[in-house]
């Protein structure tokens, strides 16, 4: 016979990346903590645990949320998606390929959160403009990339999702062509 759940502890069935798991955890623990500790899904990162940096972004019912600000118990009955659920089998999601190819993930620490926020954006609007992407991702800090490669990668993935095969401009990988007068010099 199972003993009753001790006070301060919760048992919940969470549906993460389409898979259900029943876990016990301290009731005050956040979705971030339970994903990382009880479920072993360490792909979701943290940079502040105070809702300030966007690093811990996951999708709940398709919407980006800061998993450090959501109690795990609140997630019961909702569909949670994390970076681990992005790829299909061994195939990367277009966002993942684009980030990898363009070096939009440098240290890669902000990447899972930005990928999830981008996924939500592209699901709504795969043809999002650069400005729309910037606004959608403005709650996610990245200290490495200067955001350029991320914008280019999200645009590229959006085009791919629209069925276009249009890789980013050569300039993204090689830099701008030198002005003519310089080449001559």
């Amino acid at each position: 016979m199972s003993s009753p759940v001790p006070p301060g502890t919760s048992v919940a069935t969470l549906r993460v990346n389409g898979e259900e798991r029943t876990v016990a955890f301290p009731t005050h623990h956040t979705l971030l903590e339970v994903l990382r500790e009880e479920l072993g899904l360490t792909g979701t990162k943290h940079g502040c645990e105070l809702g300030e940096c966007g690093t811990c972004t996951v999708l709940v019912d398709g919407k980006p949320v800061l998993s450090c600000l959501v109690l795990a118990v609140e997630a019961e009955g909702h569909a949670v998606e994390t970076v681990e659920g992005l790829q299909q089998g061994n195939q990367l999601h277009p966002l993942q390929s684009a980030f990898a190819d363009l070096g939009a993930a440098q240290c890669g620490y902000c990447t899972p959160g930005i990928l999830m926020a981008s996924k939500a954006l592209l699901a709504e609007n795969p043809a999002a403009s650069r400005e729309q992407i910037a606004v959608a991702l403005s709650g996610n800090l990245c200290r490495c990339t200067g955001y350029q490669k991320i914008l280019e990668a999200v645009e590229w993935a959006g085009r791919t999702l629209c069925g276009e095969n249009a890789p980013p401009a050569r300039e993204c990988s090689f830099g701008a062509p030198l002005p003519e007068e310089v080449q001559r010099g």
Binding site: L50, T82, L86, Q96, A105, Q106, S138, R143, G175
Partner: protein, 848 residues
């Protein structure tokens, strides 16, 4: 969508021409997916806090809440009775000091009798869960007896007692340096005009997205493995051995991929050492992950620097002499500070001809988190000073700011007044590119009021010429293992902090052996298994590890070539390594596949392995202090930025950045672009908003000196919305010292950003803000001054008066010097004591 192959398709794909056999480059110079790219986009990369081990427990630190005090007592009794609590450590459990530099071993893993800043760690607590450790940390009582707080450089200079440390050059002046290269007064006498500027660069911090974390795992009989988010596993290894009093061979440090470093994870840290000690005490794995607030206390970020430049100019814009004075606010510990001090003067000579030069500097101890190396280490502050100074002088002399630079460039392959040997210099092309790209000639000074352009340049090291502690061993080593499978394993101590060093290592080995990135398995940053590489700092990895990798790969190629040549009866020099084959250049059908070639070599020579290592060339400087500044190669950058300023409010936006960077040779252009853009971003943040500043709590609440905003919300940094359009030019002026000619790119492009923005604001609205950050309210204040007919400027007025004594005098190459000082042995000469002295003494010892 079908997954893309290792190399990009479409526009970024390998050009068809490169597929042609023989001499064509396989990988180097083409954009390829970074080797750790897939792991980073799938969540598989394991950062330190992602690790967990059976029986692992959690540790927290109790940190000081007062800035400067004696520890009277520590009471852990209440905490000890709390659930889950396992053990405590206090200062006396780890009495040995440590620190990154041999001359400033001034840290304890936990404070012993004194705390020196709010955040200094005092007690470590281990408990079964992190929650329990946290609860217990709140129950520890520490009683303090307050000492006077030293808050600023001025206070440090004025207050010799109480001393924050019992060692220093004098009182609370940690370090005092004065050196003079050439006959300075002659230089000033030759000048047509002499200009002076006083400027301030406020401190700021790295803010890596990953909070520092460490997991220490005791193993076997008295061995321990420490996994950590560190940029310098080798130096951490040495500090652990020293503090734990264990043979280094029983300690294994593994640097996890860092979630951003920028210099902030280059020191050995309290929490790393305490976690190891705790693990040894408990006999079980111990993890600590710092909170974001604690990361602000670890700091080691940009030193606040007050500086004064006095420069003699000819009317045509040539410099005749410069006297630079800098004062650094070092915070509470030495860290890299002695090196930082020298760096605020060392690279002043590598961009524009400066025939005579004097440099004075002090670094002070204050009761704030320690400053150290942040991207650009000590050089962005004087670079800001120099580039703004030049801009002002150009305007006064009526010279285009681009021309004052172009006309005075240091020539390639020369030795500067302070005895730095510079090799390739692509700066001319960098300036020309951004000038042309931005329409500088047509637009500067002619845009509507409120809109302006600013230009600045910079240069940075491709690795420091000397290691942090004196030795004659390689600064980087690479070991290769090849076998019949065709897999090549590359072992190297280098640390991936996001800059792409794994990809450079794999790329170079694959290039030389003509194989693919997927044929290479990396084992990196593991002090037990990999040859030493000193770490990811000073932009050293591509050049130093790259050269070591090149040598190891060339030796492997030689082995394989000898065996294949014998088997195929083809002369060795006709063999081509490309496309996973080894074949005859005259008859490409005659050849072996790469795995067959490995079988052939393994059959001929037995187990296959090679090593490569790199030691930088010796620098010509022989004076004390000459150890800081030399590098095998210098990168160069130039930028033009365009700003839009609201003349009413001072609010401004950077609209466009043109950045050109001379990287020597882009090993992987797409990663070079990433480093340029990331540097532009970080420089932008420093110019616009980032500052690590402090305030006093009210008198009735302890009056303690505390961090103004140790949180990511309040420490402002640019988001997607602040980022302007960036046009980057990759300039390649190959340096013979770099692998394939490559130089650094991770830090250099940051340097010109701050002065370019300040200069652009001047072009836009005619006011000078001589301090960083250039806050909008300062722009507004300068505009008010201007409106009132006063000097249209805000910024510091004066440099403190400091007795620097007699400078160390070093004749320049042009004066026929030999790199030595002429008054080295004079008493009371203020020189670079410390690490540099030790190095020089060691050097003399070996010469004898």
């Amino acid at each position: 969508m079908a997954e893309r192959s290792e190399k990009q398709d479409g526009a970024a794909a390998k050009p068809e021409a490169a597929r042609e056999i023989a001499v064509a480059r396989n990988i180097v110079g083409t954009p390829y997916r970074r080797v750790d790219g897939r792991a980073k986009v799938t969540g598989q990369t394991r950062f330190a806090d992602d690790l967990s081990f059976p029986r692992m427990v959690h540790m927290r630190l109790v940190r000081s809440i007062v800035p400067h005090a004696r520890i009277v007592s520590i009471d852990t009794s209440k905490a000890a009775a709390m659930p889950g609590v396992l053990a405590f450590l206090v200062g006396k459990d780890m009495p040995n000091t440590f620190g990154i530099l041999p001359v400033s071993q001034d840290e304890h893993a936990l404070c012993i009798d004194k705390v020196r800043f709010v955040g200094d760690p005092v007690v470590a607590i281990a408990a079964l869960t992190d929650d329990q450790a946290y609860e217990a940390s709140l129950a520890v009582r520490v009683e303090y007896e307050s000492l006077e707080t030293i808050a600023t450089v001025e206070e440090a200079i004025a207050t010799s007692e109480p001393r924050i440390h019992d060692y220093s050059d004098e009182g609370n002046i940690h370090k005092k340096v004065s050196m003079q290269f050439g006959e300075l007064e002659e230089g000033f006498a030759e000048a047509d005009e002499i200009f002076e500027d006083v400027l301030l660069f406020e401190g700021n911090t790295h803010l890596p997205m990953e909070q520092h974390a460490t997991v220490a795992v005791p193993e076997d009989d008295g061995r321990i493995t420490v996994w950590s988010s560190t940029q310098t596993p080798h130096y951490l290894h040495r500090s652990l051995a020293k503090v734990l009093e264990l043979p280094a061979s029983r300690i294994r440090v593994i640097a996890c991929p860092n979630g951003g470093g920028f210099g902030g994870k280059s020191d050995p840290f309290n929490h790393e050492i305490a976690a190891a000690k705790m693990a040894l005490r408990l006999g079980r794995p111990v993890k600590i992950c710092l909170t974001r607030e604690e990361v602000f206390y670890c700091h080691r970020g940009r030193h606040p620097v007050l500086m004064k430049l006095r420069t003699g100019f000819k009317r045509d814009g040539r410099m005749t002499a410069q006297h630079l004075q800098t004062a650094l606010d070092g915070g509470a510990y030495g860290s890299y500070g002695v090196a930082s001090t020298y760096y605020t003067g060392a690279l002043q000579t590598v961009t524009y001809e400066l025939p005579r030069y004097r440099f004075d500097s002090v670094r002070c101890f204050t009761n704030k988190p320690p400053c150290g190396p942040k991207r650009g280490h000590g050089t962005p502050q004087p670079r800001f000073g120099l580039e703004v100074h030049l801009d002002k002088v150009a305007v006064k002399l009526g010279i285009d700011p681009a021309d004052i630079r172009l006309n005075n460039l240091v020539q390639p392959n020369t030795i500067t007044a302070n005895w730095l040997k510079v090799g390739s210099i692509g700066l001319k092309k960098c300036i020309e590119a951004v000038v042309a790209g931005s329409g500088w000639r047509e637009r500067r000074g002619k845009l509507p009021h409120g809109r302006g352009l600013g230009l600045a340049c910079g240069s940075y090291l491709s690795g420091a010429g000397l290691p942090i502690y004196w030795n004659h061993m390689p600064q980087s080593g690479v070991q290769l293992k090849l076998d019949r499978s065709g897999c090549v394993a590359a072992f190297c101590g280098q640390t991936e902090i996001g800059q792409g060093s794994d990809s450079v290592l794999a790329g170079i080995v694959a290039e030389v052996l003509g194989i693919e990135l997927l044929d290479i398995r990396l084992c990196v940053a593991d002090t037990d298994l990999t040859p030493v590489d000193l770490g990811s700092y000073s932009s050293r990895v591509t050049l130093m590890m790259g050269n070591a990798a090149l040598q190891a790969a060339q030796r492997a190629r030689e082995l394989v070539a000898r065996a294949v040549s014998e088997q195929l009866k083809v002369p060795q020099d006709r063999l081509v390594f490309a496309e996973r084959r080894v074949f005859d250049s005259e008859d490409p059908s005659k050849g072996l596949s790469w795995p067959e070639a490995c079988v052939c070599a393994e059959s001929r020579f037995g187990t296959l392995g090679t090593t490569g290592s790199y030691i930088p060339p010796r620098s010509p400087g022989r004076y004390r202090g000459a150890g800081v500044g030399p590098s095998p190669a210098y990168s160069y950058s130039a930028t033009v930025v365009e700003v839009e300023v609201d003349p009413e409010t001072g609010l401004y936006r950077v609209e466009h950045v043109w950045m050109a960077h001379d990287v020597g040779k882009a090993i992987n252009p797409v990663l070079v672009m990433g480093q340029i853009e990331g540097s532009v971003y970080m420089g932008l943040g420093e110019a616009l908003m980032e500052e690590q500043v402090f305030r006093r709590l009210p008198k009735n609440r302890s009056n303690a000196l505390v961090h103004k905003h140790p949180s990511m919300l309040e420490y402002k940094s640019p988001t997607f919305l602040e980022m302007p359009k960036v046009t980057s030019y990759i300039i390649e002026d190959p340096d013979p010292n770099g692998p394939f000619g490559a130089k650094e790119v991770g830090q250099g492009p940051l340097l010109p950003m701050m002065p370019a923005i300040a200069n652009a604001i001047f072009d836009a609205v005619g006011v000078r803000v001589d301090q960083i950050p250039v806050h909008p309210h300062l722009v507004a204040k300068a505009l008010e001054e201007k409106a009132r007919g006063k000097e249209p400027r805000v910024g510091p007025r004066a440099f403190p008066s400091i007795d620097f004594g007699t400078p160390l005098r070093v004749p320049t190459p042009a004066e026929g010097g030999d790199g030595q000082a002429v008054n080295q042995d004079e008493a009371k000469v203020r020189t670079g004591t410390g690490t540099m002295t030790e190095r020089e003494e060691a050097l003399r010892g070996t010469k004898r």
